[in-house]
């Protein structure tokens, strides 16, 4: 069973629909009750970091997630803001995140008027390490990004891919059972569906 975490931010319906399309049973949950061993989580997110972390706290999700992810080692995929929330700290709101990975979130700063914010559109990945998420990928898979802040990893070996938008930034990381992607697989056609299937199959 895949649990899509509802903390008030993110396009839960789109993710659920994508999982339906690839044939995986899923449910949207805010209270995270009735979790079985082997259940996997998706932490979605679109919006402001501070609102995200406050909502996680408001809905009593932080302790539960720490338990499921850090202790019970359920697999979890963070998408966009969801990925960012897994880090230590974000400049968006200047507040602390869940601290599951040694990284922080920074705002893109450009010395050029050719680059607009947010980074919005389709981009490719520079694969940095073998990751189950990328199994059976073609050379040129493209994904949809929309963000003004990016993840800066202190722990370099968790970086599984980077992408280029003025600078080279971390577009996905993996640390044991914890995965994060800056892009939106549920909005990235077949490439996204393939990635979701990889997350769920392995």
């Amino acid at each position: 069973m895949i649990i899509i975490i509802d903390y008030g931010l993110g396009n839960l319906g789109s993710i659920s629909k994508a999982l339906d399309r690839i044939g995986y049973e899923n449910r949207i949950s805010r209270n995270l009750k009735n979790i079985n061993p082997g259940d996997k989580f998706i932490l979605p997110g679109v919006g402001h970091f501070e609102k995200g972390i406050k909502n996680l706290s408001k809905f009593n999700l932080i302790n539960k997630l720490n338990d499921f992810v850090l202790i019970k080692k359920h697999s979890i995929l963070g998408i966009c803001l969801g990925m960012q929330l897994m880090t230590n700290f974000s400049e968006e709101g200047n507040c602390n995140g869940l601290g599951w990975v040694d990284a922080s979130v920074k705002r893109f700063v450009f010395n050029s008027t050719n680059f607009k914010l947010p980074h919005m559109g389709w981009n490719s990945l520079n694969i940095k390490k073998n990751d189950s998420l990328f199994l059976r990928f073609d050379l040129d898979e493209r994904f949809y990004f929309v963000h003004s802040y990016y993840v800066d990893c202190n722990e370099k070996n968790i970086i599984s891919s980077t992408s280029n938008y003025y600078l080279e930034f971390c577009s996905s990381f993996s640390k044991e059972n914890i995965h994060g992607v800056q892009f939106h697989p549920e909005k990235s056609h077949d490439s996204g569906l393939r990635l979701l299937r990889n997350f769920l199959e392995t």
Partner: protein
Amino acid sequence: MFRPRIIPILLLQDSGLVKTKNFAKPRYIGDPINSVKILNDLKADELIFLDINASKKKQCMDIDFIKNIGDEAFMPFSVGGGFSRIEQMKAAFRNGAEKVVINTEAINNPNLIFEASNYFGSQSIVVSIDVRKTFFRGYKIYKNSGKVKTNLNLFNWCREVEELGAGEILLNSIDRDGMMDGYDLDLIKKISSNLSIPLVAAGGAGMLSHFKEAIEAGAHAVSAGSFFVYHGPRNAVLVNYPNLEELQEVFR
């Protein structure tokens, strides 16, 4: 590598897909959901749906319709037409829309831009601006599907829209709409150089090279209507989208 988006704009009128010329003479094209299926199969970057009657009818785009689009589209899509309240936008997002496009309602109530971008995040709010060239080579902004002239200054309005928190501006040349003769590159150049948010150009695309020209003029993304629904010298209706090779050729 980052590639600029190429976005079909689909116009809705009473649940049918239509195409206009200079914002007039809507011609029936076909079933909109069918078009979504086709464009989804053809891997379109993104879709924009605009209900051209909604403002007039004082209601926003039908939410069931948005849900139907959401069920077929595995890429981001925007919806617009008569959105004037946060509650309406909430329903649109809940049913799968990535962004909401506001135009007339933003002109009538600029605070809506601030309210909506604050609530949903800038990246979710697109302000659409429709312009016609004036006799003295300036531009006039029109609202209500091009029917009502305003006295807004284009540069000032763009700046205000950006300051109020819009994530993107969709800039539509009414003069070029449906003509398939190229974008208004001058307009794109003038406006994009004064913006730090993305500009999506609309109005005039007839060939792949037009997309390249618009991007080089400063558009962050290009959108088109006729280009994606017509084919051939007699404008036969054929919903289409360039394939990967054609796109790579454009952006080499």
